[in-house]
Symmetry: C2
């Protein structure tokens, strides 16, 4: 939606865009509070309309009635791969290449460790400073554990990553979408660069999966992890997922080798024998409430046109950037995200020196984004439920906050531990 020649973007234009949006009906799949503009699905997706009934049924008809027999009778034991099969199409992956388990952090540890411990492996884990911090912390924990073997974590600025793909690097890891700025890495190009240097690369797709379509098979991606509670709508702290290209699965051994990854967990053998395929990346018993919630959340994607998802993700971000340029520049608001939608995830960040209280004042008006240090106002666009008019109204509210200097109210200055 570009502005009419010589004209400014109007709310009517946004409403018209919503009327012709091929994804408009998907919004009905969500339970969103009346009147709230929710632009924080990149932090926590909202519940689907069917969520409460599904969980009620899990509690009453599965756990409550059939108790321990539910592991077989209701397929709890197979939830990790059932969820994987639902996530796979969003990733451009085979159903048997994805599994849901644990958290992003733990899943990354499994893959980094498995790749670092290959026979003859070199010692450096290469990461980028813009990776999501927990990824860096997990890599730090891993190399700390292996310090006597010469393992080392090397964190480089984004611009230095490709040059750092040297012979001492055992494994590299990148987060595709920068959680601060929304800058999106080119999966295909960087995967090719790493593989060209014979370095396996593990992608963190937490801010990618469900926001826009991925093409992991076509792009030559071999290893990835991601998050269930953002764009996949799986609920707070939903399990994460792992992706490993089919032909590489049997070559990797997870060091977090719990009984759920055992080939025959109910033989209760003394020695570990990894399961075939993706189940070898499971560890302990999964939280079934959280797994079932993720399964229900993933149903919001049933029948989605992935090309429309991509187009709407880009258009929503373009709209916010366009409106911010027109209407917010005079208040010292600047764009922190790439202008080119192809270089951006489904997120736009704006800068303002009073970012924290500005975001609190905006939230008080019913427009939910979030703040990231030091000065970032962050807005996420989940194409299944965010409307073009929401973006227009969000910018209007932000303008009103700044016009009226609402962010100067003392109540908006107190920091919460989590925002």
């Amino acid at each position: 939606m570009s502005a009419p020649p010589g004209g400014r973007l109007r709310r009517e234009d946004a409403l018209e865009r919503d009327r012709t949006d091929p994804l408009a009906s998907f919004r009905d799949r969500f339970e969103l509070p009346e009147g709230l503009i929710y632009l924080d699905g990149n932090s926590l997706g909202p519940p689907s309309v069917g969520m409460r009934a599904r969980i009620e049924s899990l509690l009453a008809d599965e756990w409550g009635r059939d108790l321990v027999a539910s592991w077989n009778r209701h397929g709890w034991f197979r939830l990790p791969e059932r969820l994987g099969a639902r996530i796979a199409p969003l990733l451009g992956a085979g159903e048997d290449e994805v599994i849901a388990a644990d958290s992003v952090s733990l899943n990354l540890f499994k893959l980094l460790a498995a790749l670092l411990r290959r026979p003859g492996s070199r010692g450096v884990v290469l990461a980028e400073a813009t990776n999501f911090p927990t990824d860096l912390y997990m890599a730090e924990g891993l190399v700390g554990l292996l310090r006597e073997s010469g393992a080392e974590l090397r964190i480089v600025p984004p611009g230095d990553f490709e040059a750092a793909l040297g012979p001492e690097v055992a494994v590299a890891t990148l987060t595709q979408v920068d959680f601060r700025t929304g800058r999106k890495h080119d999966l295909r190009r960087l995967t090719a660069a790493a593989r060209g240097a014979e370095i396996p690369i593990v992608w963190d797709l937490s801010h990618s999966a469900g926001a826009f379509p991925l093409h992991l098979n076509d792009d030559g991606v071999e290893f990835a992890v991601g998050c269930g509670y953002k764009y996949l709508n799986g609920g707070p702290g939903a399990p994460g997922f792992l992706y490993v290209a089919r032909h590489l699965q049997q070559s990797l051994d997870s060091p977090l080798s719990g009984w759920m990854g055992h080939r025959s967990p109910f033989e209760f053998e003394t020695r570990y024998r990894p399961a075939d395929g993706m189940r070898r990346f499971l560890s302990g018993t999964p939280g079934i409430l959280s797994m079932v919630a993720l399964e229900e959340g993933l149903r919001t994607f049933e029948g989605v046109d992935l090309a429309a998802l991509q187009a709407k993700s880009e258009a929503l971000g373009d709209l916010l950037l366009g409106l911010a340029g027109e209407r917010l520049g005079e208040f010292g608001v600047e764009a922190a995200s790439p202008r080119d939608a192809r270089e951006r995830g489904s997120q736009v960040s704006l800068r303002h020196p009073d970012g924290y209280p500005v975001m609190q004042a905006l939230i008080a008006r019913g427009v939910v984004g979030d703040f990231r240090e030091p000065d970032l106002l962050r807005f996420g666009f989940a194409p299944l439920y965010v409307r073009y008019a929401d973006v227009w109204d969000a910018v209007e509210s932000l303008r009103e906050v700044l016009v009226r200097e609402e962010h100067r109210e003392p109540r908006f200055r107190d920091r919460n531990p989590v925002t």
Copy 2:
């Protein structure tokens, strides 16, 4: 409840015992299917009466209404320590010595790794063949990762454990209650033996916590992990817990160092700095549905008399062993659990050569225990909801299965992946 002199145990005696049971009213806290005798709470505890309403409220009033703001507004961020504080009294531990996180498997990995990597640490992880298998698998994964540093897993028969506490051992781990036979280790004695050899020992209390009171502080226990979905009634795959004696917490670094264990997770620093106290043992974002369910499940213990819990746990097992001796011996049923209640967890296992189909036939009659290879009929006694009459009726049903040879029906021979 011993038999009257020269007489046999009667159902009336069991009913009388239920009438005077100081824990009898706790059964009303659970939603148990009408007519079912549930002796598998050592595998999966049942839902509490308040569970459905609590989860409904979580979905509607927290996640659904307040969305991402719930992390602060509804205290999601503090659930790990809130749950730890509820578990602590059952362990005989301080509230700040316990935290809920991840799974038993992962929590054991954290502690074993942290202890193995201490400066100057020796290389052997000592375990026992009767440890729960996932504990052995996790230790195997850990030493596999550290094989270049000379790490090694040594698994010894139970009788050899104390003799194996040699100078090459860096850390030992034991499961207190043998999941097969119910044999209970003496926490105090074995902890003293290990500590006497200057070897830290990590206890797995999965089949202990909530079944009978523990006295970790008094017994000198320094490290433990355990399970939320068995006697703690937290729901399928509920989070596990960790216990670390207060004075040792700051000396340990978890290698699974995710952002939830960071001192300032929302500063998004590049480098990991562990939180003070037990939070340093957190890793990724916890599954909030599963955490809240565990919190609700733990409420079933509010106001419980721990001495009564201990006494009833022992008496239920004694009753089953007594009845089995009187009424099942002629069918080839033998006790596989210690006769002395002080040497037994809250579980009794019986042996029968046709154990698998016998258990299936018993379950078809509405008496739920489980089967463990090769020939074990396993019955768990959760003192909060199992009645003495349940034990009497379970034995009577088992006798009828054997009298009528119901277990010979072909439908009881098919194996399920999980039982």
